[in-house]
Subunit: 370 residues, 2 copies
């Protein structure tokens, strides 16, 4: 069983442990030497170059991804050459372009914020007029971790983006929300789908900061979110892990914010907190193996991201104090050089009471902040 | 943080996942290409050759082991060259020679079966006469998984071994036991020790077959076993994981059977069943980092070994049925060619009731037997 992963970031890195356990030979096409997933990197090259990707894929059983940026023409050539690609190009097309995502989600009746594709400031102004004078503008492609997203109150506020936007921009209703949630599911080509518990996510500056599993005080939301994510996975023919980022709006609506078709930051808690982690499940799914149970290992799990700070000190250099103080917390380093704001690791704590678990996870994470 | 592991077997392999999580760079000196730990193998060579080992150790922070067979003169040269070696040569000397082990355990007052070093059949006969006509003879060095161990009832029954035994043979009282137990602890150079729950182990043909964690109906035994193992670790200056294999004798005595100074088959359940696995703890210990909590993740964990059968079929080729039937059981493949009787993997199940968990683990393992 050989799985080829395009992209050498921390998501590819975190596939290594379950690959070792399952006897899966993981091969990574990394962008650079010394990537986060360097241990499994068998090739270094440009994922936008079809020849590079085809050569990498020649002796693996299935190709999957650390990110969603492989161009459609490269994906199409992979499929044409007979390589199994999961998720496939048609599914990935939806994750690659936020306007396409809105179109497809609307087409299948999934609840989304009001949205429009706008070609210029005049169209943006009309959308603002119809939505109380505030909206969210997004570049359809290339955004992540808050980049390419802007709250606007004036028709001219996206003029700099319109200049480069050949397909226009996506504009959405500004949704006042109680909180953000995420529903992760995995789906295999033969159709089996399994869902993890619905989680609450806390974003800071557009970046995932903390995840509480399960989402507390959620009432009927888990049932609704699970059905929604399972339907999206099936309708869009997603294979592997699908992350559905959600708003719980102040008016009570559950709305789809974003989709990601790969393991996702909001699922890192599953490494230590669920029977089957998102990384093991992704491997099982793309290999079309039966999926594992997704139940939790503790009543509450909390994940806190570690972002690089100004000191540039690496996570492991601070282990002694963190481990002595919190011997029950699981530490994860991504093996990356620390830069301000860069995700360089995470911690996960488990327990019975949310307040206690949050406090312990934050205390452990605090040893890595400066 | 670079840890060098001498030996490329499944114990080195199972150190890879926690090394990835902690950002530890693991480097393995394997015996052969394509070893179980090949993913982390940075060198292939003979661990009995000092130059090979010294070259391997030149750029790691600490050297540790997949097995206990590195000769003392090689270990001494490593230490003399300034390399940190954990466990150290003096501790390993006790694990390498069963007669030395008995001498040291007796010297520190640890409970062991009656024993003697015997030079010939006459001395063996005298021991038999003094112990009811039955005893266990062991070759002091090189035995494992039941090899080098023989129950004897006649003085001549070890003549073939005496011929090669320059230091004599070890003979021990035959201990009728209720069951076998194992107590694992980890100790770091600065002295901290942590113990996992006492487990019951079931051996078949001298090979570990099943482990029940915690040992059921154990009364005061866990307290006794833990104190004993912690004392052995400290008195023998063991660093890293120490496994103490124990007999619960029919007369109620708790006796030390064997010691292993490395992660051990009886601790594989900790990967899925404990807050900190024996493999993560071993890395933390040899790096002299604070140790992790060792509590269980479920009331009961059961590990069942997978031994190669006559078909030679590899574990992953049977995943589809096993995973479909037992989606909650964790499967571990060692990436080894299957040969009859060879340990090629294990499964771990968790739950509340021992009978149920044993049944589920055995059911999963049965998919890999033939």
């Amino acid at each position: 069983m050989r799985v080829g992963v395009i992209g050498g970031g921390q998501l590819a890195r975190m596939m290594i442990p379950p690959a070792v356990a399952l006897g899966v030979e993981l091969r990574v096409l990394a962008e650079v030497e010394g990537s986060s997933a360097a241990l499994a990197a068998t090739a270094v090259g440009d994922y936008r170059d079809a020849e590079t990707v085809l050569a990498f894929a020649a002796d693996v059983d299935v190709v999957t991804f650390d990110h969603e940026h492989v161009p459609q023409d490269v994906l199409d050539r992979l499929v044409a050459s007979g390589v199994a690609v999961h998720p496939g190009p048609h599914a990935l097309a939806v994750a690659q372009d936020k306007t396409v995502m809105r179109e497809r989600l609307s087409a299948i009746g999934a609840p989304v914020p009001d949205w429009a594709r706008v070609a210029d400031a005049a169209e943006l102004g009309a959308f603002l007029d119809a939505h109380g004078g505030v909206a969210v503008v997004k570049t359809p492609r290339g955004g992540y971790d808050g980049k390419g997203v802007r709250v606007v109150r004036e028709a001219s506020a996206a003029d700099d983006w319109f200049a480069d936007a050949t397909d226009g921009l996506l504009v959405e209703e500004f949704v006042p929300f109680r909180r953000e949630l995420a529903q992760l599911v995995a789906r295999r080509p033969s159709g089996e789908v399994r869902a993890w518990p619905l989680v609450e996510t806390v974003q800071r500056d557009g970046v995932c900061a903390e995840v509480f599993a399960p989402a507390p005080h959620a009432g009927e939301l888990p049932t609704e979110a699970r059905a929604l994510a399972e339907r999206i996975a099936s309708e869009l023919d997603v294979t592997g892990v699908l992350a559905v980022e959600l708003f719980e709006a102040e008016d009570g609506r559950l709305l789809v914010n974003e989709l990601a078709m790969r393991p996702h930051n909001t699922g890192h808690w599953t490494i230590d907190g669920a029977i089957t982690s998102q990384f093991e499940q992704h491997l099982r799914a793309v290999l079309d193996l039966p999926l594992g149970e997704t139940g939790p290992l503790a009543p509450v799990s909390v994940m806190v991201n570690i972002l690089g700070g100004p000191s540039g000190e690496r996570m492991p250099d601070r282990y002694a104090r963190a481990m002595a103080d919190r011997p029950e917390v699981k530490l994860h380093s991504y093996g990356k050089e620390s830069r301000p704001g860069r995700k360089v690791g995470h911690v996960t704590a488990k327990g019975r009471e949310l307040d206690d678990v949050v406090a312990r996870a934050r205390a452990a994470a605090a040893f890595f902040q400066d």
